[in-house]
Amino acid sequence: MALAFDEYGRPFIILREQDQKTRLRGIDAQKANIAAGKAVARILRSSLGPKGMDKMLQGPDGDVTITNDGATILEQMDVDNQIAKLMVELSRSQDYEIGDGTTGVVVMAGALLEQAERQLDRGIHPIRIAEGYEMASRVAVEHLERISQKFEFDVNNYEPLVQTCMTTLSSKIVNRCKRSLAEIAVKAVLAVADLERRDVNLDLIKVEGKVGGNLEDTELIYGILVDKDMSHPQMPKQIEDAHIAILTCPFEPPKPKTKHKVDIDTVEKFETLRKQEQQYFDEMVQKCKDVGATLVICQWGFDDEANHLLMHRNLPAVRWVGGVELELIAIATGGRIVPRFQELTPEKLGKAGMVREKSFGTTKERMLYIEHCANSKAVTIFIRGGNKMMIEETKRSIHDALCVARNLIRNKSIVYGGGAAEIACSLAVDAAADKYPGVEQYAIRAFAEALDSVPMALAENSGLQPIETLSAVKSQQLKENIPFYGIDCNDVGTNDMREQNVFETLIGKQQQILLATQVVKMILKIDDVISNSEY
């Protein structure tokens, strides 16, 4: 009861109930939370694995998204429940941190919650369960470290990277040409990777999509693609050996920040002002010309007069280029972004071997290719596809593949996919459980069982007998003490994931287990839910 008595014995209400607030307490609260978490996980469960299905999401404005990516599904699902929101967060943080395995982490968390419910029914205190899970996750992560393998690759031999990216892509709709997409992703990452520092700045990879053509036409461009065209229709469409002036100032007379007025009261003043204005334009263009620029890329627009002057002086220009793109162009061409005309110098110009405009389809859609850049550290992946949804989904898939490749460059360790790693961990955790004397032992065993749910879902989605398949693989792993056996989703005929070339990154897997455990712990610790009943 949220009723207390003050020192005089008068009752007062701490928390108003019924009318405005709904309140769940104790075991009920935990049960309700677990049920909500499980419901979210159940939605994603069927998307797991190479034979997983997609979800169709209709947004509030009627726009349709079709996707297989866990993070995207949850993000657009419009959830209302608090616990469900936690799960959404969970998948998002996996997405930020690792970029892949966003579905897996939610399925894992769902399984952990399901097991926790069973332990609660046994009367084990939620905190004990949470602690047991914590211990178990530590065991699992350590075990993963043990069974992981380092694999060697370098710039010339990137086959292993491609294989890993293919594992990621195989669960997406784009698996039709996963080989070529994986190669594109790996080449893109290697092009921008800093192998010395083992780091990859994914911002340097631009993913651009255009509806039309088909997936096979997707290409990697060593350079930048800008969705803009030349400012004047009669400017040259192709510039070889371009010297690019990258400007963030508009071709306009200066605009002081302080408020001011220029008063015109005589005809002379009017005349001088007019002259000056013309001079401004002239000077600006001349300045660009003087430093030897053969192409101007401007963040702002410029009016017809400046446009024509540029055209007239044979200086092609592109206007309204976004800030991010401008930065990329600067990086790629080795130029500097120049905020003022006065500061233009020949050294600050970017250089590109070829700039060309290319048009698509029957509509007037043009794009600008900036290629053979001085510093090829920025690349663009240009996606083509049959329709808008396809392009969006391909973008997401490529993003996942890029993340995987990046993770591998950061950390070369891999574990085997197809549920093999989970099964191995499950065995290890199960074995470790017996060593713990307390109530936690049960929680640890439950954790092991929850780990099984990922391979189980994989088998289920692939149309195999889940329990039968899982137990077969499990016993095989135990008997031969080899952690490479997983679920044969593609019906290849072997359980050996080494032969099937199904890899996942070690950090990705570890992160999955850690994040899922953390969220579940958090959910288990909640014993009181207070919400406004208006909702």
Binding site: D28, A32, A35, A36, A39, V40, I43, K51, M53, D54, K55, M56, L57, Q58, P60, G62, V64, I66, Q76, M77, D78, V79, D80, N81, I173, V211, N214, L215, P233, Q234, E252, P253, P256, V262, I264, D265, V267, F270, E271, L273, Q276, E277, Q278, F281, D304, E305, H308, L309, H312, S359, F360, G361, T362, K364, G386, N387, K388, M389, M390, G463
Partner: protein, 527 residues
């Protein structure tokens, strides 16, 4: 313990079988909607807009129909989208792509009810699509080398495209027109350079292609109506009082005389500009923006034809046609490229006066004047012509052509059938289904023409058993005939796009096992 609602109030989710059913039904409904417009004897649809005036569109064009529909079903939206992309990419086949995707889903539904997993169906469809494309590639005809033949190919394609549209009566006429227009583009796909002017009145047959350029504008009063050997300055500049662009400038005066002085200076400025323009030695000035009365008068005094307010595309086209550059500053008259043409005159089409530029230097652009009984006819004629132009311009770049009249579908179906026989496993059912879906297109064409489709398609299939057969359905005579002799051709690029995007869309819809609809965004209380 009951599960709390996970979603917001109005959001809902459909799962598994129900979701699949919902998307199948939605997609098929859309496909059936446009199905009856397919083929030369396809029917049109009337679309009435809900906006003010309830404007009416009569059309046969799949993309136009679908674009105007208000669709709630997410799967149906996917189909609308592919049809739109088809329109943007190749311009024609917008109905076929939706019908094929719908048929693929219809077949898939049957397979799903007979307990075949969607993933298996997708795998089968993919193999089938690959095989179908190879089959087409084997049978393409490429006449790029032979200009004469290529032109006749294009003509035939144009006629095939047009025969399903309102222009079918005069398809030879329009096909000639479209081919001529596309050849003038010289390989560019920028259809903006072809201007279509619609003028109600006369009959469709009176439409014509003009070698020169027609601008839908009037000549200013008091200016010459006819100029020979015109030198044209194409400009985009403000011809009202030029504003001072320096920020914060304003006029502050203390007496009326000063105002008058400044006004005089402004006028002077304008006059300067006009003089500068005149210094180019032109006798025609075309501006994108308005020309005010004052400069217009100055131009008239100088005997220069000044045309104001030509829209942006008009300007660009005029630049293309006359070879002049679009100017905005006028300080260096010697280096601005002027446009030239032999003759500018005012012509009358129907009741309207238009300006006609003939004898132009670079014939990259041209105008097509459409005449017709009503706006609806003209709109539809424009769409049809647009389709033909799109297809032709794409074919100029990719010169491979195929026969039409259901021939490609039968060729693909045959190959796919053979593949089905060779393939082991459940996939072969899906491959077989793919071939059935392909055959549905000639069936629909025949059905729409009121022919005995079962009989005709069976006959066609038998004919196609012979190697190198050219048989297709000739809807006009209502029998199976040699497509090569009848001159029914289609562009390979269109067929390929239809095949690939229909398969892709079907695959996408098949993969879905759950539909989650968010709560619709609340609108202000207007509706």
């Amino acid at each position: 313990m009951p599960i709390d609602k996970i979603f917001k109030d109005d959001a809902n989710e459909e799962k598994g079988e129900r979701a699949r059913m919902a998307s199948f039904i939605g997609a098929m409904a859309v496909a059936d909607l446009v199905k009856s417009t397919l083929g030369p004897k396809g029917m049109d649809k009337i679309l009435q807009s809900t906006g003010r005036g309830h404007s009416v569109t009569v059309t046969n064009d799949g993309a136009t129909i679908l674009k105007s529909l208000h669709i709630d079903n997410p799967a149906a939206k996917v189909l609308v989208d592919i049809s739109k992309v088809q329109d943007d990419e190749v311009g024609d086949g917008t109905t076929s792509v939706v019908v094929l995707a719908g048929e693929l889903l219809r077949e898939a539904e049957k397979l799903v009810t007979s307990k075949i997993h969607p993933m298996t169906i997708i795998a089968g469809y993919r193999m089938a699509a690959e095989c179908a494309r190879d089959a087409l590639l084997k049978r393409v005809i490429d006449n790029k080398e032979n200009a004469e033949k290529f032109r006749s190919d294009l003509l035939k394609i144009a006629m095939t495209t047009l025969c399903s549209k309102i222009l079918s009566q005069d398809k030879e006429h329009f096909a000639e027109m479209a081919v001529d227009a596309v050849f003038r583009l010289k390989g560019s796909t920028n259809l903006e350079a072809i201007q279509i002017i619609k003028k109600p009145g006369g009959s469709l047959r009176d439409s014509f292609l003009d070698e020169g350029f027609i601008l839908d504008k009037k000549i200013g009063i008091g200016q010459p109506k006819r100029i020979e050997n015109a030198k044209i300055l194409v400009a985009n500049t403000a011809m009202d009082t030029d504003k001072v662009k320096i920020y914060g400038a304003r006029v502050r005066v203390d007496s009326m005389t000063k105002v008058a002085e400044i006004e005089g200076a402004e006028k002077e400025k304008m006059k300067d500009k006009v003089n500068k323009i005149l210094a180019h030695g032109i006798n025609c000035f075309v501006n994108r923006q308005l020309i005010y009365n004052f400069p217009e008068e100055l131009f008239a005094d100088a005997g220069v034809l000044a045309i104001e307010h030509a829209d942006f595309e008009g300007i660009e086209r005029l630049g293309l046609v006359t070879g002049g550059e679009i100017a905005s500053t006028f300080d260096n008259p010697e280096s601005v490229k002027l446009g030239h043409c032999k003759l500018i005159e005012e012509i009358m089409i129907g009741e309207d006066k238009l300006i006609h530029f003939s004898g132009v230097e670079m014939g990259q652009a041209c105008s097509i004047v459409l005449r017709g009984a009503s706006h609806h006819v003209l709109d539809e004629a424009e769409r049809s012509l647009h389709d033909a132009l799109c297809v032709l311009s794409q074919t100029v770049n990719d010169s491979r052509v195929l026969l039409g009249g259901g021939w490609p579908e039968m060729v693909m179906a045959k190959e796919v059938d053979e593949l089905a026989r060779k393939t082991a496993g459940k996939k072969s059912h899906a491959i077989e289904a793919f071939s059935r879906a392909l055959v549905a297109i000639p069936t629909t064409i025949a059905d729409n023409a009121g022919l005995d489709s079962a009989e005709l398609v069976a006959q066609l299939r038998a004919e196609h058993h012979n190697e190198g057969c050219n048989a297709g359905i000739d809807v006009i005579s209502g029998a199976v005939g040699d497509m090569k002799e009848r001159g029914i051709y289609e562009a390979f690029k269109v067929k390929q796009a239809v095949l690939l995007s229909a398969t892709e869309a079907a695959e996408m819809i098949l993969r879905v096992d759950e539909i989650i609809t968010c709560a619709p965004r609340r609108r202000e209380d207007r509706m």
